[in-house]
Symmetry: C2
Subunit: 388 residues, 2 copies
């Protein structure tokens, strides 16, 4: 019996391969510095853990409304007011089982088979694969180093065809860490309106930015789609909870899709996540962001001196996207070698696409500065062996 | 900006409409007997709740493998050995965020746009809608009362076209409660092999059956797809945890899809669900099944005397599908009236399709016998007003 065609189109991730190599090395007793997974090293805040225990004792763990519990939708809407000065109807907030499902929901609501979506690259590798699940097509729009890895309207324009239906932009970006300014959102939104395109903003790293809060697409339009997650800022990766802000006229359709696609998001996670909006828990999360910023600053001060060129301005998330062309044009081999010889695990650019994946790596700074110092020392030593 | 075509194809559920009416009545102080939602009235077993609290204290809530934690896959495989005498490679078990996502995963792995799937009707209303998410098409195969609502190969044969790609069968069935025998599974599997069709078994009500364990498709073939859920038997509806057993040759593709579609299933739910396989917790769940059986027996003894004809043999799940044609040919109006005048909430057949949805209702016996007695009294009184 043959499988669906899309099973041949959905690519595996190199990061999974690296994970296998890392685990093998660690089992052999090798000390590996893990800088390859997109997961903060901070555990779920204690107050959220405690709230979950309370909910287990006192609240039902049965089905709830497919679009989520009302208090949580209200807390999210209220945060947009507080963070972005945007008034948002809580009904437009659809709670989802993780940010991936928020993206899937936006795709299902907007895309017909064959529709094309413009994807700035390098970008999050799941996007293209997820488009295959709805039989749509991701069209890469390359971000060029000589443009500072900034998205230009020119590049978008060139990628347009009569099948283009949407543009998907992440801010802060994975793997670049770059952040869209309000002006940039405005420009892209105008472009989308001009060409009747849906604009989908991936804001799952929101909260984790180093130069004030990253502007939300909601600050410039109420007609776009915004997806979000509790995973990164609130340290709730394994809980699988996210949300989608849909345009008013799409809310009812999204609700129908949600009823069929996932019925209900994890209830305990919803009950616990509510606590994340309390001032002291939010402060704890921002304190963590301050620590993440210190790590970034440390790496920005040390890596370029090694001849490693950091692409874009990494003003958010916890990634550096690094040009290694001074040392290698085969990032996959470089990563395998760096792991084996120096015990430092990073991800090759191949997972993220873009114009030069073979000469780029992604470094996730999800360990403390002491450990990062060790990593820098090891990388320096390894690079010396290459030029020796 | 127009939405995707599928947003017009995905139908809403009448049960959601009923929920709205019920909540309105209850807010007015009306006592409503709720027999309309597919959720057992038993809370999550205390041992599972306690295990979750323990895990919150001692275990990480970060990402885990996309296909689930190994111990859980092993416990599930071991249960197939214990319950069905089937030896199953744990790698074929893919943990999913709820049974819906297990079905979605099976669809994504097997169906191209335009492919047709044969769906016995009356059946679970999400199936047809979920098929729209992958741009495939559900083709109803009517179960007829004069055949005892049994699926026949004849009926399957008649529905075949050159686009038919799969058959999806639920056992125990929602809304019928009927159970496939091992011989029936064998016959349908042979039919599928003969016509090169994928066979997908929805076994999410497994464990809840009254005449011994319902046979699993895995007892007759290793080439089919089996979907399951922790929601019903283990009383974990709001936790969103299920699993898919995939054929060997599809496991790797399913893993790639899972990585992109949902990344990871809820971790706490996985850690807690492990306890469900302990003998004393499993026994508690079977004690609950015995109680569900007593309720069914009570209704089977009382409803037919009121001129309400119970269709099929309800040997599993917790539903009766009832022919009300002696009283009404407009089940939707009947349900609205029964709710308003008698305070009994059931679901009209329209949600489940089939040959005669307008003269059928589904009753979910998810309340205790005292309360069911009250419901029967109210229904009897209401029916008398119709014939008065």
């Amino acid at each position: 019996m043959t499988l669906a065609t899309r099973t041949q189109l959905i690519s595996p991730f190199y990061v999974v391969e690296i994970l296998g190599q890392v685990e093998k090395l660690e089992q052999q007793g090798v000390d590996v510095i893990r800088l390859f997974v997109g997961e903060p090293d901070f555990a779920t805040p204690p107050a959220i853990i405690e709230a979950a225990k309370e909910a287990l004792t006192h609240q039902s763990q049965g089905y709830v409304n497919s679009t989520g519990i009302l208090e949580l939708k209200q807390a999210i809407a209220e945060r947009y007011q507080r963070w972005h000065g945007v008034s948002l109807d809580p009904n437009r907030v659809i709670i989802t089982p993780g940010g991936s499902m928020a993206l899937q929901l936006a795709f299902l609501a907007t895309l017909n088979p064959g529709d094309e979506v413009l994807l700035p690259e390098p970008g999050y590798p799941c996007n293209k694969n997820l488009l295959h699940t709805v039989n749509a097509v991701g069209v890469p729009v390359y971000l060029e180093a000589d443009q500072g890895m900034q998205l230009t309207l020119d590049a978008l324009e060139k990628a347009l065809t009569d099948k283009t239906k949407a543009v998907l932009i992440a801010s802060p970006s994975n793997p670049l860490g770059s952040v869209m300014s309000k002006e940039q959102w405005q420009q892209v939104m105008q472009f989308c309106q001009q060409h009747s395109l849906q604009l989908i903003a991936d804001e799952i790293y929101h909260g984790i930015s180093f130069d004030g809060l990253a502007p939300s697409l909601l600050e410039v339009t109420q007609d776009g789609w915004v997806l979000q997650s509790f995973s990164k800022f609130y340290g709730m990766t394994g809980w699988r909870l996210g949300w989608l802000v849909a345009p008013e006229n799409a809310v009812e359709a999204c609700e129908r899709i949600a009823q069929n696609l996932f019925l209900s998001s994890p209830v305990l996670a919803q009950q616990a996540a509510l606590v994340g909006f309390q001032p002291e828990v939010e402060q704890l999360c921002f304190d963590r962001v301050a620590e993440i910023k210190r790590r970034r600053d440390f790496l920005m001060q040390t890596l370029p001196a090694l001849g490693l060129n950091i692409l874009a301005n990494p003003d958010g998330a916890f990634y550096l996207y690094i040009d290694i062309s001074a040392y290698s044009k085969d990032a996959k081999a470089f990563c395998a070698d760096l792991l084996e010889k120096a015990g430092v695990a990073v991800t090759p650019g191949l997972d993220f696409g873009g114009p030069n994946p073979d000469s780029c790596i992604r470094l996730a700074y999800t360990v403390g500065i002491d450990r990062l110092q060790q990593a820098v020392d090891r990388i320096e030593h390894y690079l010396k062996t290459l030029t020796a």
